[in-house]
């Protein structure tokens, strides 16, 4: 309970606001660049999971997709639970100390992508008839033409895009956190996820 209160401190609330705006604005930039297989619309969510714990990550992910809905992209709303799980998993991997080595962190991104694809497939199949309404539908068409079911085709498409997108998103978050000043990082409730003990005398700073 005490950890939960710390995880939803005022600093976390402020971080979530910025993270959600980052999701939306960066997601839009990448959409306009038309880079295949990359969306980068969850780096804010991953960041919150890593810096403020899995529960804050979960809340950020869900709110992120609901906000897209309020801002004119209702297509994101059905995927809100998936976005929540991405934040949750980033938080869990962070707590396991996987951020401390780069390959473990990329592996965390890969696993998160796998779970995201598994959870998205039924939503894509049930709500959207198995298609994405974008260029990745070439993959869906290929799977369907070779005899896969709607669900299998949605999963195949999701595996390819989510594995690439989430691994890359985790990589971007890694670059960003490494570039943030230690004094700022210590303000977050899970700063021990990203700081080496040698970096700074943590307890000392937190007590002030």
């Amino acid at each position: 309970m005490d950890q939960l209160r710390k995880d939803f401190s005022t600093v976390t609330i402020a971080l979530i606001v910025v993270a959600l705006a980052i999701n939306i604005v960066v997601g839009t930039i990448i959409f306009q660049l038309k880079v295949p297989f990359v969306y980068l619309d969850s780096i804010g969510t991953i960041l919150v999971g890593l810096l403020a714990g899995p529960w804050a990550g979960l809340v950020t992910g869900i709110l992120s997709n609901l906000l897209w809905g309020l801002l004119g992209n209702p297509g994101y709303v059905p995927y809100a639970p998936v976005a929540g799980v991405i934040g949750l998993m980033a938080g869990i991997f962070g707590s396991m100390g996987w951020f401390k080595s780069w390959w473990k962190w990329l592996l965390a991104g890969l696993i998160t992508g796998l779970v995201a694809a598994l959870l998205s497939a039924p939503i894509t199949a049930y709500v959207y008839g198995g298609v994405t309404g974008a260029g990745t539908d070439l993959i869906v068409g290929m799977f369907r033409a070779t005899g896969s079911s709607i669900m299998e085709a949605a999963l195949g498409q999701g595996l390819i895009t989510d594995l690439i997108d989430k691994t890359f998103s985790f990589f971007v978050v890694w670059l960003i956190v490494k570039a943030l000043p230690t004094t700022l990082l210590t303000r977050f409730s899970r700063s021990q996820n990203v700081l080496e003990m040698g970096d700074v005398d943590l307890e000392n700073i937190l007590d002030q």
């Binding site: 402020a14 959600l20 839009t28 980068l40 309020l70 801002l71 008839g129 298609v131 309404g133 303000r187």
Partner: protein
Amino acid sequence: MTSATLYIDRDAGLQRLHPLTKLVISLFLIVLALVIPNMWAGYIVFLLGVVPLALWGGILQPLWSALWKIVLPFAISMFVIQGLFWTGGTPVVELGPLSFKAEGLVFATTITGRLLAIMGSFLLLSLGTPPDDLMISLEERGVPNSVTYIVLSTMQLVPGLQVRAGKIRDAQRARGLETEGSILQRMRSMMPLVEPLVLGSIIDVDERAIALEARGFSREASKSFYRPVPDRRWEQILRWMLFIASILLIVLRIFWPLINRYYLGAG
């Protein structure tokens, strides 16, 4: 202060409804479109539910212009992919070596209708409801005030961040960054556009938190509302009725095969 919102301020009946009434109506329309086992269900819900309500709020034109852009790409993909590649379907239209299958076309028609109804209902809510009123009325019913703050201030932050993103893009292009051209060039331009934007805005987090603390944000005393949201008795009753009807419809849909078998004597 500018805020990223779709809300269209008109003095019309829909806009005067309590935000929760609009939320419940939207959810009810979505449930209807999903539970009725008929390929035209979505179209009927859209034409008899979403369209009249949008007309009532004077927002049919903006709703439609947003809606078709969302639904059309899905519809095209579905008719092409599920129409052509339906495994073992009955061919209806021959196109050289390929053929459109009846089952695939029925499927694509069903889902397109559902999408019209679902996305239309969402847009009805976001075009017809001021977000601050929606969040305040949710907060009055127990949603934590931090959620209200998060949603509303994100909507205020987005336009500013978009301006900043535009400036970063211009600055990077002035230094020779290619944001158009081949896939490789566009991939290379991702990080120079994203990293300064994200770093710059995270640095602001601390200041934001201090500003909140200085205004007693984390104090646990009960808060009053600067902007009351009026509610009417008949709307409360309507909300409960629609809510109960939605639950009943979902339960009915889940148990329909059983009811069909044991009470109606069908196969």
